[in-house]
């Protein structure tokens, strides 16, 4: 039971932190883009935007920083055996992340409080460093997660680790694909979310200069990433196929090992009956995507011991949601590109509506995508090396902290939403005195 509470607390902490982490990566990029646009055009809306986004970044970064601190301690509080084993191996990316986070915090302080103390060049530089620090922090942390999926850089001799290569561990087989996928996800999700908010405000008045510019910058940050995301997803999928067959089988709800394995779109896995129902099947699709050859054989769950199955239904459904959203956002990117080409980016009500209804979708995809990679690795905490149940702390009564942190995080989330609404959006300039 305590294992379940530990997993709940860790999962909930990550689910909370990941939102602030992706915003901390993407929001500074938009804030700097707005400031550069202001310096180039001297249009006051851009300066107003940069300052508003900086305020939003300050609030969200602070919550991200403290929830990240909680996570670095929770690794030990909840999974001491994991950290005792893995600390020396994956401590390297965490140390590097510490430095990246330092840069981010230092230059964010300079940026937020330095508007009239730094030259405009130095100020933009500070903003660029914040963006860079955010991207690097994210990248380093994701390499540690990738290591849990494809452990590398050490050898086990009689249960003891020898020949530790921290850099080999950091550049493990899944690292590249996962880092790219996460970075693109951050820019796409946050860009789309901000664009969606301003799309709603453009709907009644599509000529509003402030919202037009906010909308354009957000699209500029979000949509190229959204367009590239399916490609990086394909890469990540092929790495999973090579290194984590059980995860791949769960993603696809694939029970029977077969050649010409179909790609299933949608569907509900029936774990007891060992089949996936109601899916649209594309013959040979999975074999082709996973191994580049429709005739390739794809291992099904039936050939994997039952106790090593991840929670198939949850993983499959989360994966389907992620892929559906990713595909939709890539379509939005193509649509936006066409409209922009024809000079009608702000005029199409259909597009503004589509953006508005997609506001939260990117962030939903980030959450379910994270569930895919974490739940898909179960029952392992380190794939093939250590089980989650072996890593959990001996401390009883984890019910208490898990409920406590859930309450705190729900409360904080509510306050953040109210504050962002009040300080960034509700006071947005109305037309006339914009």
């Amino acid at each position: 039971m305590d294992l379940l509470y530990a997993r709940w607390q860790m999962g909930m902490s990550l689910a909370f932190h990941i939102i602030f982490a992706v915003i901390g990566m993407a929001m500074p990029v938009m804030m700097v883009a707005a400031e550069i646009a202001w310096l180039c055009t001297r249009r006051p809306e851009y300066l107003d935007l940069a300052k508003r986004w900086a305020r939003g970044t300050a609030i969200l970064f602070a919550v991200g920083a403290v929830s990240g601190t909680v996570l670095s301690f929770e690794l030990g509080l909840l999974w001491p055996a994991f950290m005792e084993f893995a600390g020396p191996i994956i401590g390297m990316p965490f140390s590097l992340e510490g430095f990246a986070f330092f840069l981010e915090a230092i230059f964010l302080g300079l940026y937020l409080y330095g508007w009239d103390k730094l030259s405009s060049r130095a100020h933009v530089f500070a903003g660029v460093m914040v963006s860079l620090g955010g991207a690097l922090s994210g990248a380093f942390v994701v390499t540690a997660n990738a290591w849990m999926n494809t452990p590398a850089g050490f050898r086990l001799v009689d249960g003891r680790i020898v020949e530790v290569g921290p850099f080999a561990a950091m550049f493990n087989p899944a690292a590249g694909a996962q880092v790219l996928h996460m970075l693109l996800a951050a820019y796409a999700a946050v860009g789309v979310a901000v664009a969606g908010i301003h799309a709603r405000l453009l709907l009644p008045d599509h000529r509003h200069p402030f919202h037009r510019r906010a909308f354009a910058i957000a699209l500029f940050v979000g949509l190229p990433a959204a367009l590239l995301q399916p490609l990086s997803g394909d890469w990540a999928g092929r790495v999973v196929a090579r290194t984590q067959p059980a995860k791949l089988a769960a993603l696809e709800g694939h029970f029977e090992t077969e050649t010409y394995a179909p790609l299933r779109i949608g569907g509900i896995p029936d774990v007891a009956a060992r089949e996936t129902r109601y899916a649209l099947e594309i013959p040979g699709g999975l074999s082709f995507l996973a191994h580049g050859d429709p005739a390739a054989s794809v291992v099904g769950l039936n050939d994997i011991p039952r106790e090593l199955w991840p929670p198939v239904t949850a993983v499959h459904i989360a994966f389907q949601i992620m892929v559906a959203i990713g595909t939709w956002l890539a379509c939005l990117a193509l649509w936006a590109g066409t409209l922009w080409w024809r000079g009608r980016l702000f005029e199409s009500r259909w597009f503004l509506n589509a953006m508005f209804w997609s506001t939260a979708l990117g962030l939903v995809a980030v959450e379910v995508g994270w569930m895919v990679t974490e739940l898909g690795r179960q029952p392992w905490i380190i794939q093939g090396v250590m089980r989650t149940s072996e890593a959990v702390t001996p401390m009883p009564g984890l019910f208490v902290p898990s409920v406590l942190f859930t309450c705190i995080y729900v409360g904080l989330a509510a306050v953040v939403i109210v504050l962002i609404r009040r300080t960034v959006l509700e006071t947005a300039p109305t037309r006339g005195h914009a």
Binding site: V66, M92, S95
Partner: protein, 336 residues
Amino acid sequence: MIDVTVLLGLVIVVSLTFYALLGGADYGGGVWDLLATGPTAERQRATIAHAIGPVWEANHVWLILAIVVLFTGFPRAFASLSTFLHVPLLLVLIGIVMRGSAFVFRAYGPDHPGHERFWGRIFAMASTTTPLCLGVIVGAITDGKLPAAAEGPFATVFITPWLTPFSISVGVFALVLFAYLAAVYLTLEAHDPEERAAFRRRALMSGGAVGLLAGTVLVLAGPDVRSGLMASSWAIPLHFATGVSAVAGFALLWVGEYGMARIAAAAQVSLILWGWALAQYPYAIRPHLTLAAAAAPQDVLIILLQVLGVGAAILLPSLLLLFRIFGPRGQQDRQA
């Protein structure tokens, strides 16, 4: 050649020193926010917020750095700490979350006195409980009552080993020490003589309390700890230096040499921390776990040290820039 284990231990102590000097003062600022009274109370709160604002995120990262180096370099110590000190660490985390969020909610919230007061109170309370718990944790590592294995009833494994008079006295000591440090720093940040006098009074009072509490900690220390603190050859010169900086800080405050007083206070806090670290050596956690036994394989430690060196080369210039621009001297330059 110096042992890499010791070198990495030093890195942790250096990070903790920076955390105490910078982050510790931010906690202390919260304590004075909580205790702000008199005609200048609101001005004091504003000065504290103004001083902390640009730097507190960066100051907080020293703790992260210490933790990360701890779990990479001394994984067994990290596992043991986070198992047996789960409860106080949890309280620290709650404090850090509430404090960081409340600070920014207050700073960026709507201009509404009720909103400011509410989050200001939470910020101030969390700033008070967190250093208390951090001190208790340091006390528990030193006290030598943490078990070696998680066997036995809940309370004897997870509560009583750290809930000792000694650990609690270290907690109170840490709290008052940070408050003293903050009050000394704030004498330089104050905007007018009346406010400066208020911070000076607070610095003198808390400085006196630091002395009393240091004695209490020593009285409550077990024989092992006391001999660690007192017996070695370095102990007497080090304690002498600590005492000198304490008295000097007090005297400099008295005569109004605030810039020098700040240096003395920072020296005092650093020396206390280094004295503790020397007394703790060779243990990571008394009495079961030495640094050497807790350490990761040697080659990991060497690579980690190299990475830390490169990181510091990028980090330190950035930090200097931050403090040059927002430190008290930077602010005064621009006013002049």
